[in-house]
């Protein structure tokens, strides 16, 4: 069989359809099949990344229509990087949550299908070369995310999901509106083609479209002040879904934003806007996290803050900055999912999910506590863990751009970040008193996942060259816009 | 060999002189104080008599190793400082024969620190006896030291800055050359140092360390016999040292022993006189006292010296 990017989309859709049927044969299949899909994702990611060594990008045309008329999937080093990352995190989430709802399989079946669709939608966002399809995938993600947020029965989950839905539908509407305007002006939906024809759009419209996109994608990318849904959603969804939100979904939002900004538009001054928005997002989120007593909400705010930094990095827009942004995204995906994984176990039997309840948990859950501490160390950027290098490169980029104040602000906020993360560690390792929570011993598969992530964080920290080539390719591909356009528009036939 | 023999002889002579002068001054003070208080008082040799009495007594008790060491530390510090201080002016005829000792091998700051050595030993010895009064006396003494050290150091800094040297001989030599004593060329510093000397000599109103009425003599209260005798000897030598130091620094030193005696006695009478007319301060009052006007004078002295 010829491996192509289409498999990323087709296979999970098929699987999602089949899972209810297969699970009639054997209940376990509802759990196993998504795993197989994720595993296959990993395989094709590796194969396609291999193939990129010899060619600049893989453009897959669906239904025989070549771009700009047909719908196409574009697998560049940049999107490949994100797709591989998403597949990897998706797979880990599946392994981690394999035993989820062990007893009643109906919720489990729902959970796994939605999980799969969430990942698929995100991958779709990254892969598609067509702005309308991007919208469609965004909707897939959004709907799965709403459902997962409301996964647990009860008022809180429903409320969180409703808020998400409310804001999310704004996003959909705005993006759709932007697409419509864009289409009326240029007559095309292909992003490469759009980039070419963008100069035809009158300036004021261009700005309006840009703003619409910015707000629309900004909601998914957790930009301030559009991120009110995020803390609720993170804290109400099942534990591992937090990891998916932080590690995969947000990345999709960021990707969409970046793709629009970098490829379609050629507006000057966009960088400044991104920096400003990123800065505000980061500051507000980190400050909000400082006084947060709910652990998952704290992690959510931290996640938002990190995305703010990523936005700033994209805003700076130099080669180093984009490299830093991608590195940040990689680290954030790995570390934040690890944090969510471990936090889920720390809070397993808690009803309020507050940090207070964690006092002295390290005694009962030494491994999970260790992983959480490792994640905290890594995410605040302490060497020799992976978070350090991305932070360093981010600062280098800012320094090269002569943004001393920016550096000082980001680092001051980092101090706050250190304070709230270390407070939690302090609680966990405290011996002053012991927690009343009944700890749940981690299952073997979750231990495995956390070990893999922990090991990766240390390995990348000690030997970052392991991933930097990969990121360099990705950032080159993003920066090199004309290359993208040219390849998409000329490469007509599927290989 | 002859040189060394002479040196040892000189050192012995210096020590004996310091001891004799210190003891006599103490005796004179006792007599004078008594007369002022309308008592007959002891003879001026009373201190020597006391010492002979103490040394002839049998010492019955032993308060542990620090208690044993304390008098040694005092006498050691006293003798060491004495060796490094120029008793007479380096240009005087007597100096080169009998009193050079080790004066060229140390400077003012060294002397300052060396002088603490004895007090530290005393404090430790007093501490080990277990008498709370002793320890209280020590804490008072240390606190008071922090008090008077500030004007004293300010005065010394002014001196060192003014003459661009930290060597005592050089300070004396420069005063000699210019013909003006330090106490006249920089009176503020001299006054600051004089105030500090009140605390140094621990007469009223700064006799809070011994405080016979409340602390039963404080640090020394557990010592008797040979121990107290040695302490007394050390204390007398120290009194001589302090006076000589002041004479050297502020009065251009002395060319002959009579000159030295006159100058030191005059200086010595300052704390004694002050003591006659003053009741005892509380510790914090004493400290505050030194941090007030004396310190201001000291600062003024430094400013003048820099200019």
């Amino acid at each position: 069989m010829n491996i192509s990017p289409v498999h990323y989309i087709a296979l999970p859709l098929l699987a999602a359809f089949l899972i209810p049927l297969l699970s009639k044969l054997h209940k376990e299949l509802a759990r196993i099949v998504p795993g197989l899909v994720f595993l296959y994702f990993l395989v094709i990611s590796v194969v396609l990344m291999q193939r990129l060594e010899t060619q600049p990008m893989i453009s897959e045309v669906i239904a025989g229509w070549s771009a700009p008329w047909g719908i196409n999937l574009v697998f560049t080093p940049f999107s490949g990087f994100l797709v591989s990352l998403m597949s990897f995190i998706g797979f880990l989430v599946w392994v981690y949550s394999y035993h989820f709802k062990k007893i009643d399989y109906m919720p489990a079946q729902k959970y796994f299908i939605l999980l799969m669709m969430l990942v698929t939608g995100s991958i779709g966002i990254v892969l598609t070369g067509d702005i309308f399809n991007l919208f469609v995938f965004l909707e897939i993600v959004a709907i799965s995310a709403y459902s997962l947020t409301a996964f647990y029965p009860g008022r809180d989950g429903a409320e969180a999901a409703f808020k998400y839905l409310l804001v999310g539908s704004f996003a959909s509407a705005l993006i759709l509106l932007a697409i419509v305007i864009l289409y009326t002006q240029t007559g095309t939906l292909n992003m490469a083609d759009l980039a070419v024809k963008m100069h035809e759009v009158p300036h004021y419209l261009k700005v309006i479209i840009f703003v619409l996109f910015l707000v629309g994608f900004g909601i998914e990318a957790e930009m301030f002040p559009l991120n009110g849904w995020a803390p609720d959603a993170y804290s109400q969804a099942p534990g591992p879904i937090g990891a998916v939100f932080a590690g995969i979904v947000v990345k999709g939002g960021i990707y969409a934003l970046v793709r629009v900004v970098y490829t379609i538009f050629d507006l000057s001054g966009v960088g400044t806007i991104l920096i400003a928005l990123g800065l505000v997002t980061m500051i507000i989120a980190e400050l909000a996290a400082l006084r947060q007593d709910n652990l998952k909400r704290m992690l959510a705010y931290s996640s938002i803050g990190q995305m703010g930094v990523v936005l700033i990095a994209f805003g700076i827009g130099t080669d180093t900055a984009i490299f830093a942004a991608l590195f940040l995204m990689l680290n954030h995906a790995l570390i934040k999912s690890m944090l969510f994984f471990s936090a889920s176990y720390l809070l397993y039997n808690s009803t309020t999910k507050t940090i207070k309840e964690l006092t002295g948990m390290a005694k009962h859950l030494p491994f999970v506590s260790f992983i959480f501490a490792l994640g905290a160390f890594a995410i605040v950027g302490l060497p020799p863990f992976s978070g350090f290098w991305s932070k360093l490169y981010f600062l280098m980029a800012a320094a090269d751009a002569q943004m001393v104040l920016l550096i000082i602000t980001v680092l001051s906020v980092s101090v706050i970040e250190i304070i709230y993360y270390f407070r939690v560690i302090g609680k966990i390792y405290s011996k002053d008193e012991t927690s009343e929570l009944e700890p749940k011993k981690p299952t073997i598969n979750s231990v495995l996942v956390m070990t893999v992530l922990g090991a990766l964080i240390i390995i990348i920290g000690v030997y970052p060259d392991l991933v930097t080539d990969w990121i360099h390719h990705a950032s080159d591909a993003l920066v090199n816009k004309s290359n993208y356009i040219q390849n998409v528009l000329t490469e007509n036939l599927p290989r | 060999m002859e040189g060394i023999g002479l040196k040892i002889l000189g050192a012995l002579l210096t020590t004996i002189m310091a001891f004799a002068v210190g003891m006599t001054y103490g005796g004179i003070t006792r007599k004078l104080t008594a007369r002022v208080q309308n008592r007959v008082g002891p003879t001026i040799w009373q201190n020597f008599i006391d010492l002979v009495k103490l040394q002839s007594k049998k010492t019955n008790i032993y308060h542990g190793v620090m208690g044993h060491f304390a008098p040694m530390w005092i006498i050691t510090a006293a003798m060491t400082v004495l060796m490094f201080i120029p008793v007479l002016h380096p240009n005087s005829t007597w100096y080169s024969t009998w009193f050079p000792n080790l004066t060229f091998h140390g400077d003012l700051i060294f002397l300052l620190y060396m002088m603490v050595f004895g007090s530290l030993g005393m404090a430790l010895g007093a501490g080990q006896t277990g008498n709370p009064n002793s320890a209280i006396g020590v804490t008072r003494g240390l606190s008071q030291m922090v008090g008077f050290e500030i004007p004293f150091v300010l005065a010394l800094v002014a001196l060192m800055v003014q003459y661009k040297t930290t060597s005592i001989q050089d300070i004396m030599a420069i005063q000699d050359q210019s013909g003006v004593w330090m106490m006249f060329s920089n009176p503020f510093s001299f006054l600051a140092a004089l105030f500090a000397s009140l605390g140094m000599f621990r007469y009223s109103p700064f006799d809070i360390v011994g405080a016979p009425a409340e602390l039963a003599s404080g640090p020394v209260s557990e010592f008797g016999g040979k121990y107290l005798g040695v302490m007394m000897t050390g204390g007398s030598i120290f009194a001589f040292i302090k006076l000589t130091l002041y004479v050297d620094l502020f009065m251009g030193g002395a060319y002959s022993i009579p000159e030295l005696l006159i100058k030191t006695f005059a200086l010595y009478m300052v704390p004694v006189f002050y003591g006659w007319v003053s009741p005892r301060y509380r510790t914090e009052q004493a400290i505050r006292y030194f941090w007030g006007w004396p310190t201001a004078l000291g600062i003024l002295g430094v400013i003048i010296a820099v200019w």
């Binding site: 350090f388 250190i418 002053d432 | 006498i75 490094f84 709370p132 804490t139 606190s143 040979k226």
Partner: protein, 621 residues
């Protein structure tokens, strides 16, 4: 394999091994740590005479490690103290749980300290710096008590320092395009760095945090007093010297020998900064001393004393004359030795008695004579009384200040050194002298493996008191690396630029002779009739105390002094910090109000944001 890399590797793998060995037995990690430090130390001393350098590249950044004379000076501190502390630690930690994580971090921090000083580029410097920070942090919170108070402040202050440093580092890189230290110094020489002053000040802030300079010191008392004593000696002795190490580089190599001294503006700013730093050092010394003498806990007392001592060192570096730098480096080494010894001694008391609270301990001198001896010697050195080595450093510092014209600073230093006598006496009296209590009657001397390292340190203090030249030699070499030329020193004679000198050999000979004479006289005169008495056998104004009469004097030890100096105690910097921190947190709380949790509000945000953006962006683009 390169020895430098090998040493680093030994320490880091030793740390892993120490942790893993704790899974087998809780007794193993101590021995693993001892073995690791021994191997590392032996390796270092076998090879440090040779020129060694190593460079490699990691994600396109060149990392260089090398040994130079300045490095070797600090390596002596790290390894010397490290090996003694790990020997001491084996028995000290004997009955404590979770030794694995303690020793892992112990080794990590020693290894990373060595990493810091051999780093010849900012990246590895920073990486090792941070590893040092968090490994020491983990030891600070190792006992899991009072995390909020001890740990968070340490980490937050360290983070502020580290991030100031990181800012400086990336700014330097953006200007000269490399992280190499040598390239930075060269660029400084050629005046190729525009915002050199900003960068230097940021670097200084970073180092000042570790050197516990006021007002960045607030972490130190708590962190020092909360670590197990075997690590505190390294923490206060060696780790804080990393700040000194860095300050030396900036203040001397950059400020003093920058080749920009002719540039008026530069000279003005750099001298101003140095002056400010010197005064900060002076204030640190004075205030920390005042706080030290009111402490009731011996470890806290020593912690404040460490801060004060570091103040002197900073003064020396900031003044920057030959004598001043020499005194600073000398004091740095001596502080490592005597504070190392003191923390070990207090640790011994803690282990044998169970507390370091001086109001609960009294009169241990007969029970723990060796510990007392070590404490006594170290305290004499700390107080700067001749003939021990502390005096040498103090003397040089005073002379340097006076000859350089820092008249009022010298008075501040004098004040704090004099006030230091108070806490010196406090700790000696509090632990070892005074009434011998019944509840400490059973106490025994600490085991030999704890006493030996302390005694070695004490002997070092005694020897260098007369022959400081032993230490001057590496210091002089180190100073040549910093840029001084013809650094002169003498084995036993100290001298200043005015030509005044002190001959230490004469000093100690005189003291020795006088002491021996007095000893012979006092010991042999009427020896027969003397009997030893207990501390109860005293005359309290002629009365004989009853058997259970309380004669212990430990509370409010320096109350009169406190009263006299009351205005100086009124405002606690720590309190100010805590108020500011709480205020900020309360202020930041408003952000949580933004997230109302109300869906409608969020929807309004979206709309409002859209409108605002449309208006703003329309004007901007």
């Amino acid at each position: 394999m390169n020895t430098l890399a090998l040493i680093i590797l030994i320490f880091f793998s030793g740390a892993t091994l120490a942790y893993l060995s704790s899974l087998i037995s809780n007794k193993l990690p101590g021995w693993v740590a001892l073995l690791t430090t021994m191997t590392g130390t032996v390796l270092f001393y076998m090879s440090f005479q040779n020129e060694q350098a190593l460079s490699f590249s990691i994600i396109g950044l060149n990392l260089e490690w090398a040994l130079d004379n300045y490095t070797i000076l600090f390596a002596h501190i790290i390894f010397g103290l490290g090996i003694l502390a790990s020997l001491y630690s084996v028995q000290y930690m004997q009955n404590k749980s979770q030794q694995g994580s303690f020793y892992a971090n112990f080794l990590l921090s020693i290894g990373s300290m060595f990493g810091i000083i051999i780093s010849k580029d900012f990246i590895s410097f920073f990486i090792f710096w941070e590893i040092m920070t968090w490994s020491s942090f983990l030891i600070v919170v190792w006992n899991g008590i009072g995390f909020r108070k001890n740990g968070i402040w340490y980490m937050a202050m360290s983070a502020i320092g580290a991030y100031a440093m990181l800012t400086a580092i990336v700014l330097i890189n953006s200007e000269i395009g490399t992280y190499s230290l040598q390239a930075f110094f060269n660029a400084v020489q050629e005046n190729a760095i525009d915002n050199l002053m900003l960068v230097s000040i940021l670097l200084l802030i970073g180092f000042a945090v570790k050197a516990a300079l006021m007002p960045l010191h607030i972490w130190a008392p708590r962190a020092y007093s909360n670590t197990p004593a075997s690590y505190t000696s390294v923490f206060s002795g060696a780790l804080s010297k990393m700040g000194v190490f860095g300050m030396g580089l900036v203040l001397i190599r950059v400020f003093r020998f920058s080749g920009l001294q002719d540039n008026f503006d530069y000279a003005l700013v750099s001298q101003f900064t140095s002056h400010v730093l010197a005064w900060l050092g002076g204030i640190t010394a004075a205030i920390a001393t005042l706080y030290a003498l009111v402490q009731k806990d011996a470890k806290k007392l020593l912690a404040y004393s460490s801060i004060a001592q570091l103040g002197y060192i900073v003064i020396g570096l900031a003044i920057g004359t030959k004598l001043a730098v020499m005194s600073a480096l000398f004091l740095a080494i001596m502080h490592a030795v005597f504070k190392g010894a003191l923390f070990m001694a207090v640790g011994a008391v803690e282990r044998q008695v169970g507390t370091t609270d001086m109001t609960k301990i009294s009169g241990l001198i007969r029970r723990m004579p060796w510990t007392f001896f070590v404490t006594l010697v170290s305290i004499i050195a700390l107080a700067g009384v001749p003939p021990l080595s502390g005096f040498v450093g103090k003397w040089m510092l005073y002379e340097a200040l006076i000859t350089n014209g820092n008249f009022f600073l010298v008075v501040v230093v004098f004040f704090s050194s004099t006030a230091a006598f108070l806490y010196s006496y406090r700790i000696l009296f509090g632990l070892f002298l005074g009434q011998e209590e019944d509840d400490t009657a059973h106490v025994k001397e600490a085991p030999a493996t704890m006493v030996i390292p302390m005694v070695i340190l004490a002997l070092f203090l005694i020897v260098t008191g007369t022959y400081p030249g032993i230490v001057f030699e590496p210091i002089a070499h180190g100073m040549e690396y910093l840029g001084f030329t013809d650094v002169t020193w003498n084995m036993t004679v100290l001298s200043n630029v005015w030509g005044d000198s002190v001959n230490l050999q004469y000093v100690s000979t005189t003291i020795g002779v006088a002491f021996m004479l007095a000893l012979i006289f006092l010991t042999f005169k009427g020896r027969k009739g003397t009997r030893g008495v207990s501390t109860k056998d005293i005359s309290t104004s002629g009365e004989i105390p009853l058997e259970h009469e309380n004669l212990t004097f430990q509370l409010d030890f320096f109350k009169p002094f406190e009263r006299a100096a009351a205005p100086l105690y009124k405002r606690s910097i720590t309190k100010i910090y805590e108020d500011v921190a709480n205020g900020l947190e309360a202020l930041f709380d408003f952000t949580r109000k933004i997230y109302t949790g109300n869906g409608q509000t969020y929807a309004i945000y979206v709309v409002a944001f859209l409108v605002t953006l449309l208006i703003v962006v329309q004007n901007m683009l």
